[in-house]
């Protein structure tokens, strides 16, 4: 069975400081992993995906994530937060179908 655990339900940062959203996964085989973002009253948008190529994956809007098999982690980072980054972020593992984490709400303070 596959699953993901997002370690923080809410993260708050100041504008211009780094962002770290943590995700651990469980999979019986080499997984495909995704991060999606959901802005208020909007649909989900793909940020980035890992499918067994490079372990450091770059996404849109300056986000990136690193696949660490030894730690079963796929944490999302951004060097400098912007007000427009405030949203809900979902880590996803994909097998026959996608399994979503519970989500992390990112708040960015001015």
């Amino acid at each position: 069975a596959q699953s993901v655990t997002q370690l923080d339900s809410h993260v708050s940062v100041s504008e211009g400081t780094p962002v770290l959203l943590r995700c651990n996964y469980s999979s019986s085989y080499s997984p495909s992993l995704f991060w999606y973002v959901q802005h208020p009253n909007k649909g989900l948008q793909l940020l980035l995906k890992y499918t067994s190529a490079a372990t450091l994956v770059k996404g849109i809007n300056g986000f990136e994530a690193e696949f660490k098999k030894s730690e079963t982690s796929f944490h999302l980072t951004k060097p400098s937060a912007h007000m427009s980054d405030a949203a809900e972020y979902f880590c996803v593992v994909s097998g026959r179908h996608m399994r979503f984490g519970a989500g992390t709400r990112l708040t960015v303070k001015p």
Partner: protein, 114 residues
């Protein structure tokens, strides 16, 4: 751009009513999905379809059914709505051919059952 549209953004229904949620995609995707989204639970898969007239149960199919008569359209049906089905419903589509394929999401339908 891929577009997934859902028939309503907001819907209010009474307990016991039959409810239809419609989803249409314009990218000729084989796979279509229905999820419900609840705070603190993320998205949970209700049903998915990998071809016309084909469907499979997801993690929480109880109280729901689906229909896929055309490739571009996937309907979610609540046979007899109940208050515990008050939720945000999201439709998605994606290419077939195994895992690792991105899904494209509609804007969602917020259903309230009173």
């Amino acid at each position: 751009d891929v577009k997934v549209t859902q028939s309503s953004r907001y819907l209010v229904k009474r307990t016991g009513e039959k409810v239809f949620l419609e989803c249409v995609q314009d990218m000729d995707h084989e796979n279509m999905f229905w999820y419900r989204q609840d705070p603190g639970l993320g998205l949970r898969l209700i049903y998915f379809s990998y071809d016309v007239k084909m469907k499979e149960k997801g993690d929480i199919p109880e109280g729901y059914s689906v229909s896929r008569e055309k490739k571009e359209r996937f309907s979610l049906i609540l046979e007899s709505a109940s208050t515990n089905q008050t939720s945000m419903y999201l439709c998605a589509s994606g290419q077939g051919g195994g895992s690792g394929k991105e899904q494209y999401f509609g804007p969602g339908t917020r259903l309230t059952v009173t």
